[in-house]
Structure formats: C-alpha cells, structure tokens
C-alpha cells in the first residue's frame, strides 16, 4: 500500500512504516525505552531524509511514553518536582539543540555528527548494560554474589550550590544537577530524535542517586514533555515534521508497546536487559560501519 508523504516528498509503503513502528513499539514496551534510537536510523536506512526522520520520530516517542506516564502517575512513580526541573533543562537544551542543528546543517556535518554521537552513545550504553546484565544473570543463577551498592549521589553533584529537597526522590541536592542533565538530554532529543531515557535512567541512578521507584516514571515524564517540545521546535525551525509519517509510526508503535509490555512480564528482566544490550550494540555497529565503509554515494545534494 503506497502512500505519499507530503513533507518528506516521497512515496512509501505504509505497511512497512507501520510494521517498523510496531517493531520499535514492541521493544519499547518490553524494555521501557522510547525507541527513538532505533526509529531514526531505520527510517534513514529506508530512504527518508535524515532531518525528516529525526523530526518525525520525536513525536513517535511522545506517543509511546504517554501511557507509561499515566501508569506511573497512578502508583506515585513520578517525582513531579524533579521532573519539572528536568523538563525546564530539556526545554533550554532543545533550543540550544536547534541552534547546533542549524550550525551543523550549514557546515554539512550534521549526518556525520549524528552518526558519531550514536556510535559513542550506543557503544557505551550497550557495553555497560551487557556487563551489568551478565553479572545479574550470574547472581540469579547463584554463582556470583551481588555487590552491595549504597545509593548516593556523585560528589560533583554534592558540590553544587542552592540545595533543595526532592521528597519523592529522597534527595537533598542542588536543582542545577538535574537542570544540566535535562539540558544535555534536550540537545540529544533535537539532534537524534530520541527520548533520552537511555541517558536519563542511568544518570538518575548513578549520578543523582534517586530512589529507583521513581526513576522510570520521572524519566518518562521528562521524555513526554521534551519530545513534545522537540516536535514543536522542529515544526517551527526545520519544518521537517511529517505528520503522515508520524501517524503511521504511532499507529504501529502504540500497539506494539502494549504487546511488548505484556510480553515483558513473562521474561526475567536481566535477560531482557542483555537482549536489549546486544541489540543496542548491533545498531551501533551498523552505524559505525556506515561511517567507516566507503559510502555508495560519495556525493550528496542539498537545497540552498
């Protein structure tokens, strides 16, 4: 079933896009991630212009995080104060991101920079997660002893001024730390079209030392707002949000996400994390190959 995308200016197979969204949604439901890190590269591989891909997959992440936010809210899993600070940082970050995006676009390096950030980020996270989940699998099989870990924030975070209390997170830290974290994630959301849960969740646990019961809910809360704002920023600056493409992705991903969430309850979490780690590493490897292999097209055309 061919469908013409009015902003991307090309015709795609609607079924392929819905299935792509569905596959990503399945994973996001299973692993509790937005899935933007998969959507953007997959759309680019399919032939969608990179800017349109990044702009439209941000709105897919919004849709994927909505039902999660509501679910976490119901059981008190969102630290609204912390989330608010993160969102504020995210808004500033997305404006900075839009500026960086334009700068890179003008110098022609946007695709390379997106590729390099992906490789570094996916490589680091995939590797860390793989190691952690292998240790966890060892623990659950009884072969290894878990290392006790005290929940506390990073010394650098403790050094920041203007401390305030975040009750739900059980923290007394400076709001500057989550603000900076939100800022960095906001930049990545604009550049890569990802939600940033990938960076946020580990950073909240290991840098801020937040109570784990509110980590995922608060991260989704920030993702929801920042991807929504990223969509707005793209709509007004790059004008590359293709609403038809976004709708197709959403239909697939919201359905997939619900199926994935059901499936996730039947599998042990450490195995899920290992599977996710392997997938993250594979995507990273694919992008790395794209950077170092001689590309099929040495030349590229850009409208001015």
């Amino acid at each position: 079933m061919d469908l013409y995308l009015p902003i991307a200016n090309l015709s795609v197979n609607a079924l392929v896009i819905v299935l792509l969204g569905g596959g990503v949604g399945l994973l996001s439901g299973m692993f509790g991630v937005g899935g933007g890190f998969l959507t953007t590269p997959l759309l680019i591989i399919y032939g969608i212009p990179p800017t349109v891909a990044a702009a439209s997959s941000a709105s897919q992440v919004t849709g994927a995080s909505v039902s999660g936010v509501f679910a976490h809210f119901h059981r008190g899993g969102v630290d609204v104060k912390m989330g608010g600070v993160l969102v504020a940082g995210g808004v500033l970050g997305s404006f900075a991101g839009a500026w960086i995006f334009r700068l890179l676009q003008r110098s022609g390096q946007i695709d390379t920079v997106i590729g390099v950030i992906y490789v570094l980020m996916l490589g680091f996270i995939g590797f860390t997660m793989a190691r952690e989940s292998i240790v966890a699998i060892g623990v659950s099989r009884g072969g290894l002893k878990p290392r006790p870990r005290k929940r506390r924030h990073h010394p650098l975070v403790a050094a920041l001024p203007l401390r305030t209390r975040f009750y739900a997170s059980g923290l007394y830290i400076s709001p500057l730390a989550p603000l900076l974290l939100g800022f960095g994630t906001g930049i990545l959301t604009i550049l890569l079209g990802i939600g940033g849960g990938f960076i946020l969740v580990p950073a909240m646990i290991y840098l801020l030392g937040m109570a784990t019961s509110v980590v995922v809910g608060t991260s989704l809360f920030q993702t929801l707002f920042v991807t929504a704002i990223a969509t707005m920023v793209h709509a007004t600056t790059t004008k590359a949000v293709d609403i038809v493409l976004a709708a197709l992705l959403l239909v697939g991903s919201v359905t997939g996400a619900q199926l994935g969430a059901r499936f996730a309850t039947k599998v042990k979490p450490e195995y899920l994390r290992l599977a996710l780690a392997i997938m993250v590493l594979l995507v990273g490897l694919r992008i790395l190959l794209g950077l170092v292999w001689r590309p099929e097209d040495i030349f590229s055309v850009e409208l001015t």
Binding site: D2, L3, Y4, P6, I7, N9, L10, S11, S59, Q60, T62, G63, A64, S65, V66, S67, F70, A71, G108, Q109, D111, T112, G115, V116, A228, T231, M232, H234, A235, T236, K239, V241, I243, V244, A246, A247, L250, V251, V254, T255, A257, Q258, A261, L291, V292, W293, R294, P295, D297, I298, F299, S300, V301, E302, L303, T304
Partner: protein, 255 residues
Amino acid sequence: MRAALAVLAPLLMAQSVPDAKPELVPDVSQRNIEIAYSFTGAELLLFGAILYPGGRRPAGQAPTDIVVVVKGPTQSILVRQKEKIAGIWVNAKSQRYSSAPSFYALASSRPIERIVDERTRAIYELGLGSLQLSPGAGTLSDVQERFQQGLVDLKRRSGLYVEAPHAVEITDGVLYRARLTIPARVPVGRFSAETFLIRDGRVLAAAVRDIDIRKSGFERFVARAADRSAILYGLTAVALSIALGYAAGMVARRM
C-alpha cells in the same frame, strides 16, 4: 520584392522550396499532475505531429529526429563530496550550483550524440552531459567536471535525471510519441516539455508546453499548514501523538 515573396509564400510552398522549414505541433497527455495520497509517480505521454511545408514529407532527405526534454523547476543547490578523514567518511569539498534542474528527462529517436554535435547540445541543453548548471566562479574546470559528474550520477540513480535514447517513436515520419515516467519524489512546480525537430544536426523547429505539478487535497493542505502555520501544525502533531498513545493505553487496560 520581399513583400511580394511573403504573399506568394503559401503558393510557392506547394512546389517544395528547399529551405522552407517544417513545423511542430506538440502536446502532452497531462497539463496538470496532481499529487494526492496515492501518488507513486506519473506517466507522461508526449506526442504530436510534424507539419511539412506542402503537407508532404520531402523525399530523398536525411531522416528527421525528434528530441523531447522535460525539465523541472531549477533549484539552487550545494553538492558535497565525502572524503575519508581520520577513518570516517565526512563531507569535505563542496560546489554550489545556482540553477540545476530539479528534474531532467530527455527522450530521443536516436542517441543524442548521433543527432547533434556538442556545440548544439550545449546551446539547447540537450543531454545530461550538456546541462548548464551555473557553477560559482573561480572553480577549476576539472574539479567542476567531477562535481557535475557526481551530481548527474546521483540524480540519475534516484530517477530524477533520465536519458532515454530510442524512446521517441516516429510513425511514417509525421507522427511522434514518447513516454516518460515522472517519479514520486519530484518537486512540485512548473515543468516544461520542449520538443525539438532536428535534421542534419540542425534544429529546425522547437516548441514548448508547460506542465504544472502540484500537491492536491489533503497533501496540499498538510504541506501548506506546515509552512504557513507552523505552531498550529506542531501542536496538532503533538496532540495526535498524545491522543493515540493515550487511546492505546486505554484499550490495553480494558482488554
């Protein structure tokens, strides 16, 4: 004397005057191409008749050739070339062209190189090797050549630059027709279809027809909304994603 000749011309034409030129009556199958949701490209039929003076095809002359060129609106573009720097392929050199056709298709009755010489090809922009792209000043000609080659190659593979020798069929030396496909990724705007009648390497007649390609219905509405009311468009996209996400969550909870 000249005036008298002009009056007499129609009469004189009956006895084949050697340098009376034939005329072209061209047409296209579609003057307007509308891009709607199901648009996957269009097939354009370019046809017409060659009117010889005296209404009869002169015998004993070299065969006439027909060349049809369909051009899209020109664009100002930047062509970038990737180079391997520190192990990864990055955009390094670039070349600006201020008037590159967004679409270019040439159909001819014989390969274009055999119909006209290089100079004529350059004058009428016949063939992918003879496009006038208006590069910026101060570029070395071999660098320039490389970039142009790269651009043509790239556009050719995406179906936006086409050269189709033998695509024009001439029936009895009078009627001609050619089929050209317009791919789905063409830009919108005013296209021109030029037809050339060529004999002995000389262009005897030329005629132009315009073709308008535009988005219609919902696609036109979306493209316009994204451009003119960006804030409202963005809000709609966000609302759509929240609504769909929420609905899916509700449905899943009921099941």
